[in-house]
């Protein structure tokens, strides 16, 4: 008995630099209420078997923050647990739980209010090894990404223009996305001439933060058919942690993403992703990361993504649209919600409900997330309608 797993409802709230009118719990509630309505008006108290929340204590400013998960999503006195990881990892948990045959409907939640964090730099220092790396006291944690960017650009001769092209493309895509606060009509020169945040990255190469909450409802095939006419299937999903030691991970290429993609493609029976898939929503919290991840997801050969990019292949109306939503450069980085944000964008595309960013051909997609520096953890999902 191999039951397929479907996404039957999505709900979101926020995606603004500052959500002032709602607490993080109210944001969770708003997103959950919308997701349950979207899933055919299900009642979480009776119809949902388990709940997965993706959040990190330090982001929340609360120790044991997982205890705050149940109420806003309807999970009190029900099986609720937290994975301190990206929202897409919670989707992976929900996928496995449904596959066991013991759960029919599982809710996935993630929320973030980075606007509440007044000492982001110190929080990031705490993410580094307390003995070997934290003591270096990196003045700007984006430097870790900048070094990766430099290594990648050197290795594959990637020009800065390609990075700037990513920024221009994604921020322009974002102009049509109702969730995106950071859409802009820029030129390549404007990006190239912006002052460096950390060389070779300008401020425009780095995605800003956003407050957001996303709730996704997953169900087994037979149950999904009961609630919705437009299920979106999870054909494959996998996640990989490469190496937590900065010293030992590959600085030139995101091996974690490649390994996660290989496994997810295998599950989904995908041989030639660029031919069999129609678009991708990938992490782009740094402009160069979009290029790296395009290659790691096997949508281009290593070192070739920038050439295809500059030919327009990954534009919204190109051969293979990447981040038609604008991704994190357009929507901002809502911490662990990031993967679910990418997923929501892809789900709406597959359902034909993406509004002004709707692609003409959207039946099968790959969704990717990365947890940002200093992590080497990626999750990859293949979804189809």
């Amino acid at each position: 008995m191999s039951r397929r797993v479907a996404i039957i409802g999505v709900g979101w709230y926020g995606f603004r630099p500052v959500v002032e009118e709602a607490s993080f719990r109210e944001m969770m509630f708003e997103a959950a209420a919308r997701a349950y309505e979207d899933a055919g008006g299900i009642n979480p108290r009776t119809d949902v078997d388990a709940f997965a929340s993706c959040q990190e204590d330090f982001w929340e400013g609360i120790a044991i923050a997982d205890e705050f998960a149940p109420e806003p999503i309807g999970g009190t006195l029900k099986p609720v647990f937290t994975t301190p990881g990206d929202g897409l990892q919670c989707v992976a948990n929900a996928y496995m739980m449904i596959k066991t045959g013991q759960f029919d409907v599982v809710t996935v939640e993630s929320h973030a209010k980075p606007s509440d964090i007044i000492n982001m730099h110190d929080v990031m220092l705490f993410a580094m090894d307390p003995i070997t790396v934290r003591a270096i006291n990196t003045p700007n944690y984006h430097a870790l990404a900048a070094m990766e960017a430099q290594a990648y650009m050197n290795r594959y001769n990637v020009p800065r223009e390609a990075l700037a092209y990513v920024v221009v493309k994604d921020k322009r895509n974002a102009l049509y996305n109702e969730r995106a606060s950071y859409g802009a009509n820029l030129t390549i020169d404007e990006v190239l001439n912006a002052p460096y945040a950390v060389s070779p990255l300008t401020k425009l190469d780095i995605a800003p933060f956003a407050d957001a909450a996303v709730v996704v409802v997953l169900a087994s095939e037979d149950v999904a058919r009961r609630y919705t006419d437009t299920p979106v299937w999870v054909d494959g999903i996998h996640w990989i942690t490469e190496d937590p030691s900065l010293e030992f991970h590959n600085w030139e290429f995101p091996v974690h993403t490649m390994k996660a993609a290989e496994a997810a493609y295998k599950m989904a029976g995908i041989q030639d992703p660029i031919k069999e898939l129609h678009f991708a929503e990938v992490d782009n919290r740094y402009s160069f990361k979009e290029l790296q991840f395009i290659e790691a997801l096997k949508l281009a050969s290593p070192g070739e993504a920038h050439k295809l990019l500059l030919e327009g292949a990954f534009d919204r109306d190109g051969l293979f649209p990447v981040n038609p939503s604008g991704g994190a450069l357009g929507e901002g980085v809502p911490l662990e919600v990031h993967g679910l944000a990418r997923l929501v964008d892809a789900v709406l595309q597959l359902r034909g409900e993406a509004g002004r960013i709707q692609l003409s051909r959207a039946e099968k997609a790959v969704v990717h997330s990365w947890r940002g520096v200093p992590t080497t953890t990626s999750a990859v999902a293949v979804i189809s309608r």
Partner: protein, 329 residues
């Protein structure tokens, strides 16, 4: 929820490991995780190469003092280059780890899972790791009151004593029993031969909680290898099957909880029993390891797990039913 007792890929525990539990271990959190992981692998007769997936469990990041602790622990827990997933449900995290490992295997996604739980409390905060618990409250309604974790437990203990008519000396029996049981456990931190009187005369922390009613600050790690049936049969003649799992979270607002009865434990137990096909836990279960961060919590949780009727656990304890030497009827 559909209930089938036999999932397709039946998960079994085929190896386990445990570090010493001590007030202040010198190993780093990564090293503690690896000591336990290596023991579990050795017992299972496997190496890291044979492990498909890794599950990590650790409670608040503030204890170890590392943000994204799951990422930090990944290499110590054997997760380099592997699908590594951390789970976190407060104090219950330790049991959530094998539960998550269960669904990794039962789903068919992984054949072998290394499940590692680690906590190094001693490195947290000055003067005492207890200070971490200043940050567990609702930031708007509770933090301004500057509550202390033991307050909640004190109120719960009080409520339980009042509702069930339990005396302090009945509850102290749990501490006496468990500390004595621990004398034979090589990893135990606070094994002791004490009397009820010792507990009653120990320092009052928050009445009615006294020093010997409560578990101490501790560093340590534990690990399992969980494998699907075919691997389990190949590796060992004595697999331990995971027949049922269950968990639940009660409301965040402790003021809205039933303090006298652990509803969350009851919901979780019902789920696990249903999955395992257990209809009469008192008859069908031979031995129980329940969470006892405070001595009264063992009684509380026995009742939640249906191993005693409501308010009956102190009586069973007094009668010696929960002693190691007695067969549970």
């Amino acid at each position: 929820m559909s209930r089938n007792i036999y999932v397709k890929h039946r998960p079994a525990v085929i190896g386990a490991g445990l570090t010493l539990f001590r007030r202040r271990m010198l190993e780093t959190p990564k090293e503690l995780a690896w000591i336990a992981a290596k023991q579990a692998l050795d017992e299972a007769g496997l190496t890291l190469k044979d492990i498909d997936c890794v599950v990590i469990g650790s409670a608040p990041d503030t204890f170890d003092g590392v943000h994204m602790k799951g990422e930090y622990l990944a290499d110590g827990a054997g997760g380099v280059g592997k699908p590594t997933m951390r789970v976190f449900v407060g104090g219950a995290t330790g049991v959530m780890v094998p539960i998550a490992a269960w669904w990794h295997v039962a789903s068919g996604h992984c054949k072998t899972v290394l499940a590692v739980a680690e906590e190094k409390m001693s490195s947290a905060d000055i003067p005492h790791p207890q200070a971490v618990f200043r940050y567990i409250w609702d930031p708007v309604t509770e933090v301004p009151l500057q509550p202390n974790l033991i307050w909640i437990f004190a109120m719960e203990m009080h409520r339980y004593m009042y509702k069930c008519g339990v005396k302090k000396e009945d509850i102290a029996l749990v501490s006496v029993k468990n500390k004595r049981n621990a004398l034979d456990h090589p990893a135990a931190q606070v094994a002791a031969n004490i009397t009820v009187d010792d507990v009653l005369k120990s320092e009052v922390l928050v009445w009615p909680v006294q020093l010997l009613d409560i578990s101490p600050v501790s560093d340590g790690a534990a690990a399992f290898v969980v494998a699907s049936e075919d691997v389990a049969r190949r590796q060992t003649d004595t697999p331990v099957w995971i027949d049922g799992v269950g968990w639940a979270l009660d409301t965040t607002s402790w003021t809205n909880r039933d303090l006298a009865f652990p509803e969350y434990a009851n919901v979780a137990a019902q789920m696990a029993y249903r999955m395992a096909g257990i209809t009469n836990p008192r008859r069908e279960i031979d031995v129980a390891e329940v969470y006892d961060p405070f001595d009264y919590k063992e009684l509380h949780h026995m009742e939640g797990l249906g191993l005693a009727k409501k308010c009956e656990a102190p009586k069973l304890t007094k009668e010696g039913v929960t002693q190691r030497t007695v067969t549970y009827q």
